[in-house]
Symmetry: D2
Subunit: 417 residues, 4 copies
């Protein structure tokens, strides 16, 4: 029973369903460990910038989420694994007290890697017992938070990959995470579809999550939005297309850029997407452009969608191409159109929409209310899903968000006009 | 003939109309000098932070705008006042070449104050001649850029006031700009209207500028937006109401704040709006809260609208008050409702809308295209107008914008729910 | 009667002597105003970096020094000019209470320039009365602090020039302080003496001030120092010699530099001394190297001593030249040698001596004890005197000091080996 | 045969002597691994600030030193272990080419810990062969660089301990490096000797290394220095004495501090030596002051010498105590006096001497010339040796040096007057 199947039937409480939840829980939790498997304890310990976190921290924090939100308040008799962990592995929940400063997560050699694995096991054992023995009165809240916790862990699964890629990119050896990592290898063999423009007539469309199944609070409430007619590209912009932008001095022409973007280009010396290596890069001498990824350094695939772009680079490219980014509403309305490809599985797609609350938005009650709402300023919405997004995690109403200069996620762009 | 009257009839070209433009030009230009009049050359020279500019720079830059966009390209035989000024007084127009770094505007003791006045006169004289003698072929572009230039200068008139207030607030003497400055004095005698909630039924509304008269490009194109039903306050939040927020530990409770806002509160030690002086402030010993403004230090007026707030403080207050900020669309749709007060004349009103382009937005052609569009990220929209906004400058479709932490403008808030 | 003549007879108290002090006071004070004369109130208001101060601030601070150290404690019935000035114009005397933050001195448009002139006059009038009427019991302390205050004001006279030069160098117009400023013009016509090496036999020498006359506390106590035999250059390094260092890639070769120096070269992009303009500098198109100074932009004088160098640049040059900097003790021992030229009047001379206290050093009593002692770490000693040093201010035992990266003073170098 | 015994006979070349060198090499190299033994690969990977380095990096860099300075240039047929290591493990030798940025050493999870151990073994094997088979012509240079390399590695042995202590101090768990670490435990049981003052008559003393045996270049040449008579304390200042300074508001009184020191106190909120935990520290609730060290958190030992102090704190304490720090020359001259205790084995002792070159100082030839000389500015000299200094490493002429604000070394103070 897949996680998404469970979503649609999550309210009743019976042994079969509880077992279904347990299977889902076990699958998600196992996948995190699988993702960490190619990494040594050393690899799992480091933090290459304040925005990224160590793998070990992700493994611990996702366990703490179940402990702090379910086991401690809802599971009678649960014994906390280690009193310090509440301080160490709380990410940003002010309602749950003070926490270890984010930029210092990489200094936590202790608790050791093995202790974190033991912590995960401790939480998993307790969750198994709780899913079995939880009193019926606690079940609805347990089920609801369990579901949130699994989606939460899936988000961190993506971050495990993007964060380690950033860390490895800081290492002059450019080590590969896993030379056989399938989702990335797949990109190297797919021919890019021919570019075509899909028409949307505009008008009143329903935006946001409204049906059964799980959604984050930021996708609600479902509400009408009026759209002007527009066209949207059937696929993402490719590396080859972006290379033409570079070769046309795209990174040297201020009028293509938003003001903040141009300031960033100059301050950080941007010349290409973050993991591209120019032919004269000393780390990978080659006669052609190369790209660093989870599978290591490989020749740039001109047919593959460009990824690891900031919003600013996406905007400048669109300006150069005589087009624009779609709004998040256009994206959501268009993603069901016939011919709409690469909706997910490759790269999150920057939209031209600031991350504002939907009309009538209310955060979840309690600490979980800090999950999304408090980040609703200074960020841009991304839609779709990436090669690092766990299967079944994304959906058309999903609102991912990052600040405009962020480049270390698997982020690309689709044009509109 | 007022500027706004002119706006509605700006296309034809005849002597009467040209004279009308000249009157408008002269009035606007004279007002800038009037605003500078209470300030010594020393006062007009300093810059208290990178975001603010010296008065003298404002006086020069607004003249340069006419010189660079009208006189040089459209006035045959015009002689530039000083070749260096193009570099010194270009603000941010990449298309017009390199410029003096913004944070160093306060170091320009030369050109001296008197030279800037001579520059203004030189430009004014040339504009008078040009409005008289401009060939008909150049008239439409002249009229259009002249109109833009006047609105541009009006925007800088507001900045002259907000920037000097910031500079004076950095001086421990807290000097008054002008103890008789009317728009601020007026606030001290108005009783606040009782708070009431105005109902708007929602539905499809038209947003943006669509008729005759001047508007900035960012207000266009006019387009439909679908609104859910909402309520909006008839007036702005008062200082007395905001004081209750402070006294209820508003600045100490993280869960009231957006994440970025709370980080700012801690990093900068915010305890109250930026120009408030607590009773124990060493600069103004008093038994009560005081407020520093253009008229100097005065007792906090509990009935007056709170101003000089960041977006973050506005949001936290709204959260505390069990309400929210209106979107910019709600504000524009509601501002015509009967009972809607303080739309302008007191404080710009933060909305819950990121500054995104309207569907179909195209910047102006040429250098003027950098006027608005390139700032459309990382900022929030404000609506209304303030005590420092020149008469006739604001309109219901006007989109002002500042980054979320900005506090030095006359910015306040109106609640919605 | 010159200031230095007075120094030697400062203990007795009689009408003639008091009048002599008054003449000295008046001369020094008048000279400060003379130095400010070429500058507008705007010029006198700005601060181009935290290490520099506005002219107006110098004029006020030197007056405050007399007010705070003499008039308030020693002159019965003195009435303070303005209560705020104690806060505004205290530089760094912790014992005298809190003060305006140094980096914000440039924001003090108020008190206005004219008020500072009135303040000076007020202090001068009170000093005149005090020198006349001061009770005999207060005379010794008055005379001693008066002498300190005059030397203090002379130090600020040098800073007035170096600070305004820095400010003007930040202005793309590169305005001249005074195109007829004699001490700088003099450099352009002097031929450089031929370089020769003066021998010093080493052995036990007496270092520091020990006789009559004024000296700062940091020059005492006089004490023996043992020197190894050494040679010292008869003159300073010239611009032409330094240009050869530049042309030999001196700024590109890390092994010539101290570690901190090389870091600075890279971080700040140093390519030449701070006020040199390379032939391709956009501010002064020329076929040759130019130099900006108090008299404006002029062709680099190859025969003139190089100045406005950091300690790091001085050290790197010496390394390149196969020599070294002298220690401060070598300098003091050698400056009496026959043939030792340019001891003062051109540029302070970096020595290879950290600014440590002399054995037995005790700071002055009271607030004046903060004058020198608390800066005795992280700085290097300079000896000699510069074109900006007031006549009669320097002496062979004088210990000037600045941090190794400082470049805005008139600082050069003399080689030793 | 100890390292220091070898020092005295290092010139001749015969099998016995070569074997002696091999024994010394093996002992030093083994000690590094012993120091790393209590640490996991995770622990050995992290870097808690730019000034500190990961244990793994120390292990690699010390091996690279032998490889780059001996094996590559002097051992025919040597095969480099990995071409990348030259870039990764060069510390600061500009003459040897570019290198990995210091602040990013903690991101090097690869090469893995095991690979570094293999690297050490590879270098050790090659050194064994080279010491056996090195042609006689290469022997003198080999022996000289080998000796330097062993002293170099001993310096890094101390840094391994101070750097991991800093890293662990950043971990809220405050893990112990080794609860049985002898040199630190020893401090907890020694009673402090009674304070007494030792007299030195001053006069001409010989300073610096001049005899047989190894010394760093910065200790040479030996030269005469004239000292005034002085007194020096027989022992270091204790924690109990320093606590009295704290309790007397030592950290709140600006006039006790040098100007830079007071700025540091305020900017960083210093209240006590860096590893002290006040009674209300949340990390170690206790009724008394605690101290964190290599053996973990323990009650502050009032009798033990205070350590992990900055120069600024040492100076402020001395001022408060009515005394001063000795100069490095006084220390060296006095350390042979009868009754002079704690010369080494506890804490390096800040002196009142800037780190300037000795008269006639010449750095070593070649890359080794960057070892000491290029750091001779902005640092203060420390004398003695600490609990982390390997046995036999220190000597009376040894000049250690750190910048005035550094606190993470085992640094204390001894008074003079």
């Amino acid at each position: 029973m897949s996680l998404s199947t469970l979503d649609r039937h999550r309210l009743p409480d019976n042994a079969t369903l509880r077992d279904g939840w347990w299977q889902a829980y076990r699958n998600v939790r196992r996948h995190s460990l699988n993702l960490a498997a190619p990494l040594s304890p050393e690899d799992q310990c480091i933090q290459s910038m304040a925005d990224a976190s160590p793998t070990k921290w992700h493994l611990a924090h996702t366990s703490w989420f179940f402990e702090a939100l379910i086991l401690v308040p809802l599971c009678p008799g649960y014994r906390v694994f280690d009193d310090h962990y509440h301080y160490l592995f709380n990410s940003y929940y002010e309602a749950l007290g003070p926490r270890h400063p984010r930029p210092q997560r990489g200094l936590l050699t202790r608790p050791a890697h093995a202790e974190i694995l033991a912590y995960r096991q401790h939480v998993d054992d307790a969750m198994a017992r709780h899913l079995d023995a939880c009193p019926a009165a606690n079940w609805p809240q347990t089920a609801s938070l369990l579901e949130l916790g699994l989606h939460h862990e899936q988000q961190h699964q993506e971050l495990i990959l993007t964060d380690i890629l950033h860390a490895f990119a800081c290492n002059p050896l450019l080590p590969a995470y896993d030379t056989h990592f399938g989702p990335e290898l797949a990109l190297t063999i797919q021919p890019a579809p021919a570019l075509s423009w899909l028409d949307h007539p505009g008008g009143l469309v329903q935006i946001g999550h409204g049906g059964d199944g799980f959604a984050f609070d930021n996708e609600t409430p479902r509400h009408p939005v009026w759209l002007q007619p527009f066209q949207i590209a059937n696929r993402l912009v490719t590396c080859g297309e972006f290379l033409a932008f570079i070769n046309d001095d795209g990174y040297q022409r201020p009028t293509l850029w938003l003001s903040d973007g141009w300031a960033q280009v100059q301050a950080e010396g941007w010349q290409a997407p973050t993991y591209w290596l120019s032919p004269d890069d000393p780390r990978a001498a080659a006669a052609e452009w190369m790209q660093f990824g989870l599978t290591g350094v490989r020749p740039l695939q001109l047919n593959a969608p460009v990824r690891n772009l900031s919003f600013h680079e996406a905007c400048a490219y669109a300006e150069w191409a005589g087009a624009r980014l779609p709004t998040e509403f256009e994206w959501e309305a268009a993603c069901h159109l016939s011919g709409f490809q690469q909706a997910t599985g490759v790269a999150w797609q920057w939209t031209r929409s600031g991350y504002d609350p939907y009309p009538g938005f209310r955060p979840l009650a309690g600490a979980a209310g800090e999950y999304n709402g408090k980040f609703m300023v200074g960020q841009m919405v991304l839609r779709g899903g990436s090669l690092a997004t766990p299967a079944g995690h994304a959906r058309p109403t999903y609102r991912n968000f990052f600040p405009p200069p962020a480049r270390w996620q698997f982020t690309g762009l689709r044009l509109a006009r």
